[in-house]
Subunit: 348 residues, 2 copies
Amino acid sequence: MNAEGGAGSGLPVALDAAGGDFGALPNVEGAVAAARTGLKVLLVGDRVKLHAELGKYPGSASLPLEIVEAGDVIGMDDHASDVRGRRDASINVANRLVKEGRASAVVSMGHSGASMASSLLTLGRLKGVDRPAILTHLPSRNGFITMLDVGANADVKPAYLAQWAGLASTYLKVVEDRQNPSVGLLSIGEEDHKGNALTLEVHALLREAARRGDLNFHGNVEGRDIFQGTTDIVVTDGFTGNIALKLAEGEAKVLFGWVRDALGTSLLSKLGGLLVRSSLRGVAARLDPSTYGASLLIGVNGLSYIGHGSADARAVKNALLRADRADQTRLIARLKEGLETAAPVGTD
Amino acid sequence: MNAEGGAGSGLPVALDAAGGDFGALPNVEGAVAAARTGLKVLLVGDRVKLHAELGKYPGSASLPLEIVEAGDVIGMDDHASDVRGRRDASINVANRLVKEGRASAVVSMGHSGASMASSLLTLGRLKGVDRPAILTHLPSRNGFITMLDVGANADVKPAYLAQWAGLASTYLKVVEDRQNPSVGLLSIGEEDHKGNALTLEVHALLREAARRGDLNFHGNVEGRDIFQGTTDIVVTDGFTGNIALKLAEGEAKVLFGWVRDALGTSLLSKLGGLLVRSSLRGVAARLDPSTYGASLLIGVNGLSYIGHGSADARAVKNALLRADRADQTRLIARLKEGLETAAPVGTD
């Protein structure tokens, strides 16, 4: 327990304030909004620029915000591997703050590949995890589902997915208070024998883990089960998961565009549209990626959140608050405990 | 040119009238509706049952409908491989009608795996095609996109996808009059080097085919591009494609459920909902799988359409009409011409 009364580290969250399509602007605005709720944030980037940006917010000087200098930034067109040689890049500096125990978590809206590489290189992997995965949430009929991997690993081995299923189960227990969360394996038929060569092997590993009591395996789920919310967790490889995530986001956008257009077709429907606008806005909010802010890179030895390059201030704020909440729950320590308790699955 | 003035065979379409979750009912109703537009249909199944079912439709005796006896049916819980030993199963009889030149096409809402297996075994493959794929349509911002494979092949080789890209290109030119249709390879980033081991190899094959002028390769597309309609065709393996299709259908269903619920939350939104109902119905219709009716098993030596087990009469009717339209365009002959003209890609 720290002085604040929570179980977390009490440390500030490090924000890669230079990263993302729009640079410092949404990062600083989001950090200011998070700081106004009491959260301590370290803004990592060019000190002069960040100071100037902060100056736009009256009263920001009294907020729990601190600038940490980083003279370089990995651009959205750079290569992920550039993080290796560029020690002063904001994402590397931010990850080192976590590694050195000066920050509880790192949040970045910058180059996703670079952010993953930087966290993996700087923080290392949890013992028993071959590859970290990106864990995210999608809205579903029952609230939300948790899906991983949504893009860190295009090519995988069966053991990776089995490890991720265990990590995500611990995550949901710890961070979202879900008792005995169910795991579905994304496949092309509910029956055990339906799938491709990969999922058939993963299926066997998950059955075995369930038999040992390490997790609650529901069996295969199909594409339609994601929005149905058939299981708490959907585990898949990073290729399929990334396509599923982007399809889901893209479809929601296009569908709501059509609904908006449909509401503008006649005077009657325009009037109706005015009357239903706020109801529809509630639905749209459920589908807005900014609600979650960023996705967790799970499996590294530290809290690392990675968001869209196009993230707005609201996404930045929500990501910072989520990162702090995960720290409050001692997520990393709990993941380690989980990995020690469960039987290891094909680790290096 | 046949007597009807079209370029097609003038033959009837064979319907597996016993297949599907609801057996003869929606099949017969759909066939009657199609026959009323002038289409000739062979209803394949139990003669007594089908005759009784047909009797419910006044005037059906004068419609161009004929019953072809098939004493057996592959149930939805049977194994796909059962088609091998069950010669009299309706799907086998229907496929033989095509093989023997007595029907222009086969349409089935029965067990998908069995329908594929039966068409493959009975009709054989087109020369230059290693594996047939399921080709379907999804609505997009610009109308619709054509996606394949959506489920026939869970595990693939790179050459399969390159062949499918060529088949789908010919299909769109012939059936939908699209000039120079563009092909996108479903992957996890637009850049050429983004993807998994499979897509990187397919990418190289498609670049090569485009260089030779065999098709119009756009490059990689992402999950969001499906509904955006970035390309005319999206090519992917049957595992990813099946998950994408079922996710897209499931998401539309859940989202429209939410919109409906949102419209019922208050008196004001209820009133608005009444006013916008018909506009929203137009949007929902674009997303209804019944609009297309069934998907084409492309790559077999004959026209074979496979639909949802839960298909309703409207889906059956639309599938029959689509099958006949494909016959009118001499699709199979044109696919063969296309395969002869283009450089072969890794065929058996």
